[in-house]
Symmetry: none
Subunit: 210 residues, 4 copies
DNA sequence: TCCTAAGCGAGACGGTACGTCGTGTCTTCGG
DNA sequence: CCGAAGACACGACGTACCGTCTCGCTTAGGA
């Protein structure tokens, strides 16, 4: 039998002998880490506690993740992967929907405490920064790209011009940044009116940019 | 003789006896903490180290701040207070200027490492959240209010209508959030073209909102 | 106005100006220290706590005693000064009486905890050792000297010979040492039978020494 | 595989999993603590310093001993275990020998500073008092019991009568107490003449007791 | 069927920071 | 000069968590 080194698919397939890693342990650890984050916050999160909750030895955690930052990134990545972009027939409605979804995600205690903490740690840890980028940032840009594509098909937006990639980034930073800032920094709720105002501001601005 | 309670002016005047707190220590600690953050990052920041750099006993730190989170908020607040809103004669230019200033502030290692960390901790600490809000968020909204006021005087914006306060908050969250997200999460630089694009998007959107 | 430097009467009379020391404070401090020792033991004794109990500032303590060891010696000396040697008409009875008195003194929590602690500290502090010696040891040898004098007058003991001073010391070390060791080290009570056995052993031994 | 609980054999055999305690660490810590006591005295003894000298983490100390008092008892117990009772052919000579041995032990700086300190602390700490008793007091009574046994075999003492155990205790308290008091409290040296006088006093007294 | 190499639990280990406490000194004021 | 109040420098305390290690036991593939 052949299995692969752990991780998000980095590296080639490697033949291994010996007892294979327990898939149940993987899931149990991620679940336990999410629960611990929700209950205790980043500062209260400890590897020993996660191991205890997962019914697993600390060794088993460290065999899979180098440290608690990397574990947290994987927890976050799984949470972010729950975001979806449903087609409501108009760009404005799609944006509002995803804004509210993102807000719901950020209101969850595990997300709000872990996201900022991981970003903070990543400012002094290149390996972590790359991991955040590939596992979360670049991965979620798919939502902007998809929304833009649909809007172009509907004729709401012109086809890609020269500044296309930069515009995707700008839109992504504005949407994600505004939501994060409102919820985590300002500490205000994101509700439908606010989502609609942000959407209107953004789409109005995009039109004006041309 | 009457002393006042230390801190950023919270609470009423209180009569005090005994040796007064050393104002030199206050300044030395904040300076030392800023330097330590810049050098070592959030994870490397330790109260003992800060005390050592400041030439002060650990006790003296804990007499003023309950823990390193609260100390960090005050360090950040002082850094944010360096932001200025110069009058360039047009709203667009003013926005671009403050965006670049904010970016410069966020590129400083002490700011980038501490801001996210403090926000992360504040999600599980109400006292800290309030402190972030009063010492940083509410305090910096002055920039948006002032910019808006100037623009109204110039005739670039209409006088305050019904949604004025909400619009201030929205603009603040969009500007601050976008800059923070681009620099800290996406890990991309904020340069003049990007600042100008953000400014254009925002002002275009504001016009469209009416 | 003329008063004297504090302490157990060491040094000459010295003229002083300014506000005189408060005699009430002296007594209050010694009382408070005794009470604190009884309640908290040596390890729990703190100068700040004593000051609080005495309703006095820490400054006031340190103006009188250089540190808590010296304060404790004075507390102990006052306790030991309560010992008396009543005349029961026979040396055996006198010894038994003083043994039981000493035991009662040592059963008091303030004595038992402070005596050993001060002796322990004195092993690394010459000034303290001298103070223990003059204020406690040499002072209480009076009991042995007096008892011996009375016994000689009764004809129970021969007049002083060559080894007299050494014998006083030996008897003192045996009585005090045995009682201290039984109560504090062995942790056994000193009752009348034991006191009588010790007295018999001692007097029998003294007779045999000749 | 089965490990036993660490410690001086208290408690039953217990099955253990996980990495076993390091026996080298045990020895290194006790050695380091003895050295630190000798150099710095009780007041200067700190757990961190001991850990440093032993090349061991502080955690490793606290895993074995609850605090520095309990560590000190074990250091003392090991020191006291060096006492031997050689057979000189007469009770008087045996007593003198052990008195001088005990005096030598008490002159060692580590013993003199720690013994009294531990006894002082034990007056407010039952657990510590029990530990002192089992590890030191009861353990060293073996010397008295052995000496008595030999003397009985030689015909110097009658066989055990009714008051035997009490007499062992009395003799133990007198010898140990007198030596401790002379050295630590009175601050006088224990030399051969003094040892011989004490021995004579004691044996004369024992004879007279019958 | 056994061999063997890795996984696994348990928990000890060397480190490091935490936040608290006590010491003895100092710096204010007012008596 | 005394006294109160309390800040100060210093340094130890005992706890908690990190990430590594060392045990014996388990598991599953390949020989």
């Amino acid at each position: 039998v052949i299995w692969i080194t752990r991780g998000a698919g980095y590296g080639p397939w490697v033949a291994r002998t010996g007892r294979p890693r327990s898939a149940r342990a993987d899931a149990a650890i991620l679940d336990a880490a999410r629960a611990a984050l929700a209950e205790l916050g980043w500062g209260g999160l400890s590897m020993a506690d996660v191991a205890g909750r997962a019914g697993v030895a600390k060794t088993t955690l460290y065999r899979r993740w180098a440290n608690k930052n990397e574990l947290a990134v994987d927890v976050l990545a799984a949470l972010f992967d729950e975001l979806r972009l449903p087609d409501h027939g108009s760009l404005a409605a799609d944006v509002e929907d995803v804004v509210l979804q993102f807000a719901t995600l950020l209101e969850r205690p595990e997300t709000k405490t872990a996201l900022m903490a991981v970003v903070a740690e990543s400012t002094h840890d290149d390996r972590l920064r790359r991991r955040v980028r590939t596992a979360i940032v670049d991965r979620q840009k798919r939502l902007v790209v998809l929304g833009r594509h649909r809007a172009q098909n509907r004729g709401e937006l012109p086809p890609d011009g020269a500044g296309a990639p930069g515009q995707v980034d700008l839109v992504f930073d504005v949407i994600a940044g505004a939501v994060i800032h409102r919820i985590l920094v300002s500490g205000e709720p994101v509700d439908a009116p606010w989502a609609s105002a942000l959407s209107a501001l953004l789409l109005g601005g995009l039109t004006a940019l041309r």
